[in-house]
């Protein structure tokens, strides 16, 4: 077993303990401390991976699947107050599930490979993280939307407004970073392939995600239900862009 796998298993154990403490104890403090410890080990695993692969963990599905839960963890630890207390445990659970799914991927997909020439570019270090920052925000917005949909009748109007404001904020962050990802991707494609836009399925779906989120800002008489539906559709679309496009559609991004 590789050092990276051992570190990821250790990180997962700390995350599981953190989730257990979250429900077991009255305060979130201890759970958070254990989670931070897991996050540090997780970060060490990413460093080990980067050293072995000789590039940051951005280049294939496995690498992004161990990167994404780390970014979710970062959001949970450093911007805790932006996330409703009742759904924070979901972030911890998601971190565990994603690491578990990454662990279940076939060995071939986990193999650390050096970068192919087209990926060997400075733009990868902007394009990929931009998307993943965006994805984390959209994911948090999905949690808000589900929480609001479930509790909208029980919540006080002021609390509801406060949560909708936070959901709006996440969507704005997500929308901004998806745009950064799309534009830096276009610049990279132009430098690499000579064409900034080729209607490749991944490109097209990246645009579709932005078009769906554009709805959010143009809803007439926006209410919680309308907003939540748009966010959930956008999230499904993003999931398809991330996983579905790579396996179901053929294009220039087949390696992602």
């Amino acid at each position: 077993m590789s050092a990276e796998s051992i570190l990821l298993i250790l990180a997962s154990i700390f995350y599981i303990i953190s989730l257990f403490l979250f429900f077991k104890q009255d305060t979130e403090k201890n759970s958070r401390k254990v989670f931070i410890f897991g996050l540090i080990i997780h970060f060490a695993a990413l460093i080990v991976r980067s050293v072995i692969a000789k590039h940051p963990p951005f280049s294939n599905l496995y690498e992004t699947m161990i990167l994404f839960p780390f970014l979710v963890g970062i959001r949970y630890v450093f911007w805790k107050k932006q996330i409703p207390e009742d759904v924070r445990w979901l972030l911890i659970l998601l971190t565990i599930i994603l690491l578990g799914v990454a662990a279940l991927l076939p060995g071939d997909m986990k193999k650390a490979e050096p970068l192919m020439p087209a990926l060997n570019s400075i733009w990868m270090y902007i394009h990929v993280p931009a998307y993943f920052f965006g994805y984390v925000s959209i994911f948090i917005a999905v949690l808000y939307s589900i929480y609001l949909l479930i509790t909208r009748k029980k919540l006080l109007e002021s609390k509801k407004e406060h949560l909708v404001e936070k959901m709006d904020r996440e969507i704005k962050i997500g929308f901004f970073f998806l745009n950064v990802g799309l534009i830096t991707g276009a610049i990279w494609a132009y430098v690499s392939w000579g064409n900034y836009w080729s209607w490749d399925p991944k490109e097209t779906w990246a645009l579709i995600n932005i078009l769906i989120l554009t709805y959010y800002f143009h809803l007439s008489q926006p209410n919680i239900i309308k907003k939540a539906i748009v966010i959930i559709i956008a999230f499904i679309s993003i999931l398809f862009t991330y996983w579905g496009v790579s396996y179901l559609l053929i294009g220039m991004h087949s390696y992602t």
């Binding site: 970068l115 534009i183 690499s192 392939w193 007439s220 053929i250």
Partner: protein, 295 residues
């Protein structure tokens, strides 16, 4: 007015989004004979097999561009940063149409040692921007200790004087053109002996033998034999073995391999403006969101 514009915009956006989603599942259906999608009236009607180049796609983006501008000039959009975002987006779409219409893009397939000459031809005018490109050498640099390529480099000689290097992610500007290292291929060459006469050929190739055409068609990897045609009759030859075909002694031996560099050549009018507009868009998107958050 704002509500009407908003409703039209959402309808157009819905149609465009749905068609874009569907189009990703119909890549070039019409060009694949016998495919299920061929002849489907819905696919044909919405041009889903070639949606991106269709008038529907261009038309929908055109309507969105008009709506973006109308929303600014009718006061439907209130804040300055939002107005700028709408105008910049409209300009981006206009520049994209201009850039895609005006600029030429084409691929060059250059074999090692080969020279290709090209120029811009306009009806009624003499050729302009003539350029001769020679591929001196094609190089694949691999990651240390791995078979994975690290870089593809074309060593080019432009107009028999300037030696330049072209690599992936490192485009080259020369005169009015911009060159991109797109891909590569390999061309295998063969020594063909026909009645003691020697020819160098590649696949596919045609050799003239006593006013008859000997067509080297392909190499069958299953039978490991060359497939060739003489007088429209198909023959198969094992490499290195001499075979008598219609009284001709024919031998084919592998000679070597040459790289073919696939280079994209593009004109870049308007691309710089597009980049500036895109950065403006991001900047004002950030400003607009920040302002809304502060409120």
């Amino acid at each position: 007015m704002k509500n009407i514009l908003s409703k039209i915009f959402l309808i157009v956006l819905t149609v465009l989004t749905v068609l874009l989603i569907l189009s990703t599942f119909f890549p070039g259906a019409a060009t694949m004979p016998g495919s299920v999608e061929e002849g489907s009236p819905l696919v044909k009607f919405f041009h889903l097999d070639n949606f991106y180049n269709s008038y529907i796609n261009i038309g929908l983006w055109g309507i969105i561009t008009v709506l973006l501008l109308v929303s600014v000039f009718t006061g439907a959009v209130k804040t300055t940063s939002q107005k700028i975002i709408h105008i910049v987006l409209a300009l981006i779409f206009i520049v994209i149409v201009y850039e895609k219409t005006v600029n030429n893009r084409f691929y060059l397939k250059l074999t090692e040692g080969e020279t290709i000459q090209f120029a811009k031809y306009t009806p009624g005018q003499s050729p302009q921007d003539s350029l001769a490109i020679n591929l001196k050498k094609f190089e694949i640099i691999r990651h240390p200790g791995s078979r994975m390529p690290q870089a593809f480099i074309s060593h080019l000689v432009m107009n028999e004087s300037d030696t330049v290097q072209l690599a992936v992610n490192d485009p080259l500007s020369f005169r009015h053109y911009r060159f991109y290292q797109n891909a590569y291929d390999r061309k295998f060459t063969f020594n063909v002996q026909v009645n003691n006469r020697e020819f160098t050929a590649s696949l596919p190739d045609t050799i003239s033998v006593d006013n008859r055409s000997l067509i080297l068609n392909n190499f069958d990897h299953q039978t490991r034999k060359f497939v060739l045609f003489l007088n429209n009759t198909k023959h198969q030859i094992t490499p290195g073995k001499t075979v008598n075909i219609d009284g001709n002694q024919i031998t084919i031996n592998p000679k070597g391999a040459k790289f073919i560099s696939i280079i994209e050549v593009a004109e870049v009018k308007g691309v710089g403006i597009l980049l500036i507009l895109s950065l403006f868009y991001l900047l004002f998107l950030y400003i607009a969101f920040r302002k809304e958050d502060r409120k």
